[in-house]
Symmetry: C2
Subunit: 349 residues, 2 copies
DNA sequence: CCAGGGTGCGTTAGCGCACACGCAATATAT
DNA sequence: ATATATTGCGTGTGCGCTAACGCACCCTGG
């Protein structure tokens, strides 16, 4: 193990000088700085995290900005699980976490949460953000001081300098859903798709991917319906009713969001008819229940727990260990069905 | 943050005494020990990993015992990927790793690798073991000194005191394969299963699970064939040929191991006939290729990269951080198909 | 009676690093 | 010219913990 003493000795300077070079604190002549840098490279010096941690004895604070865990059928509890796990693991490294939840169907609530963070931005060593309300999130991002890194998870904001994005390729997950649906319904069928509003890139992409899978398949008729959640959860029931009324021969139904359970609930209550294949997203409690009951055929999981876990970890590795972080971490598109669902529930890294 | 000084002050003793209590090094009277323990509990004292690491300035060595990475169609490269990643991440905590590879089709080779470890067992702070050759692995385990912890991954050895097991539920993965096969082949079909020898609990369970899925399905005829890999890789080709010859109406083929690609290769070369649905295991290069070409329909992944990564991490958390480790970590049974395979390739935590 | 050993404690020297401080030597302002 | 910054460097202290060391005190056996 090479230490700053070793470097100082070889460069014929004191450890103070080495330290100044390492931390770019100036007060070093060009020549000595160059010499020290040279030796650091030669010896491939890496500071001891233990010694650094001890000397600094600083506690780091990461802020989390995300929807309230109870929203979207408690979907947002899932990243929470991973965040808590990371928090526990990283406690020993003096990492602390502060949550800022917002109501994703209330712009005011979102802006209030942002304001809380921006009131004392310098107290945070990093931020983990689910930028669900894309347009308003952009304003927030602009006001984050440049020296504080932030990570996106779940959804993405283009043209923004985040440390990394952790999530899934939405379009491709739609394509995969299409493939699964095609296996389930056979060559000739009518399939309904529920487009969820308010508009969200994420969900639009899923629908786009799904449609694209069938784009050259004349046997499959795809009909797109809309449900506006700004008008309340009842919108889902209403549209499902319409779909069933208007399509007596319905073979399958694709729901590009976590509210698949609401659809399942309605379909289930209307029993006795021919089975409708149902594919949706995310392992919320309700979705799990309807999958086990056989109402939902496939669920796509985005590994939300792991997104949360990795988000915190990325901040830790960047801020504390000063490691390089990849620009994005794309998680697999997990296919969940009755036979493997138990192993995906609260599955963390 | 509470320190040993704080504890010492409250207990009216010196830090040396506190240290002796913490490390159970004796030389402390019953009464003072009790008092110190009491205060430690009260303050919920957790030693600083930074200070410990610095004071100890010890490097830890973990040994890995697993098959040569090139075996089973380079399947064993996959856990290697995760192990290397963990190694890189944990380097800063003074963790080092030493590999012991063996030829899983040579008992002698296995025993030699074991002997290398047992020659100086005390140099290792922990072991990560893939106990593929179950019966011989048992002998090895018995000879590991009791103070050195070991972790199993990939497969399991019953009645043995490992720190944790990291792997998948083999039987259930077979059930899942059955489900997928049933969706693919429809209500009436003949399905062949290749039983891989030498006997391996892991693979037997997968076959068992697969058969159990169809146990009450009169429309599906399941025919089990055997291929003995001890006689070389050609056994796979030979049995595949026999299957095709004896089952003109073959609807599907289930291969419970990584050598699915070998089967695919053979089926692919015999083109022009009706499509045979193929389900197998693991993302080896060959399997990936045949999946992308459409020869393999589904692959089950056991997340081998993550198994390796987590194995090292578990040892680290137990040995260095002295954290409690769960008795087993069961990984999800991932369904991989053409549309999502790209996101599973070399996917690590 | 005392040598030898065990018991119960306090003291101390690092581990490698961060950072404040101090002290010359030079540069700039008054 | 003197007063005041600025540059370039070395020194020293402390972060919290580990483990060796040392010093009384007691017990035991010859």
């Amino acid at each position: 193990m090479t230490t700053i003493y070793e470097i100082a000795k070889r460069a014929k300077v004191s450890i103070g000088t080495v330290d100044r070079v390492l931390h770019k604190r100036g007060r070093v002549s060009k020549e000595t700085e160059e010499k020290v840098r040279q030796i650091i490279l030669e010896l491939n010096y890496k500071p001891s995290v233990y010694a650094r941690g001890l000397a600094l004895s600083k506690t780091y604070l990461f802020g989390i900005l995300m929807p309230e865990p109870t929203q979207d059928g408690c979907f947002w509890q899932l990243p929470e699980v991973g965040i808590r796990k990371a928090q526990n693991e990283l406690k020993v490294y003096n990492i602390e976490i502060k949550h800022f939840f917002y109501d994703k169907y209330s712009i005011h609530s979102f802006q209030q949460a942002c304001a809380s963070i921006l009131a004392h931005p310098e107290t945070f060593d990093g931020l983990l953000i689910a930028p669900v309300l894309s347009r308003f999130a952009e304003d927030f991002i602009k006001n984050i001081p440049h020296n504080i890194p932030y990570v996106f998870f779940d959804s993405y904001l283009p043209n923004v300098d985040c440390l990394t994005f952790i999530g899934q390729k939405s379009f491709q997950s739609g394509v995969l859903s299409g493939k699964l649906m095609s296996i389930l319904v056979g060559r000739d069928a009518t399939i309904a798709v529920i487009r969820i509003l308010p508009e969200d890139y994420h969900l639009e992409d899923r629908v786009g991917g799904f449609q694209s899978f069938f784009s050259q398949d004349p046997g499959i008729r795809i009909r797109v319906y809309e449900a506006d959640l700004m008008k309340g959860q009842e919108a889902i029931h209403a549209v499902t009713r319409r779909i069933l009324e208007e399509n007596g021969d319905l073979g399958g139904l694709f729901v590009p969001s976590a509210c698949t359970g609401n659809v399942a609930e309605f379909i289930h209550s209307r029993n006795g008819q021919s089975p409708i294949r149902l594919i949706g997203y995310d392992l919320t409690d309700e979705n799990i229940r309807f999958m086990k009951e056989g109402v939902i055929d496939f669920l796509i999981s985005q590994r939300p727990e792991i997104q949360g876990y990795r988000g915190i970890h990325a901040l830790y590795r960047h801020v504390v260990l000063k490691e390089a972080i990849p620009r994005e971490m794309i998680l697999p598109i997990d296919i969940v069905t009755r036979e493997n669902i138990d192993y995906y529930i609260n599955e963390i890294v």
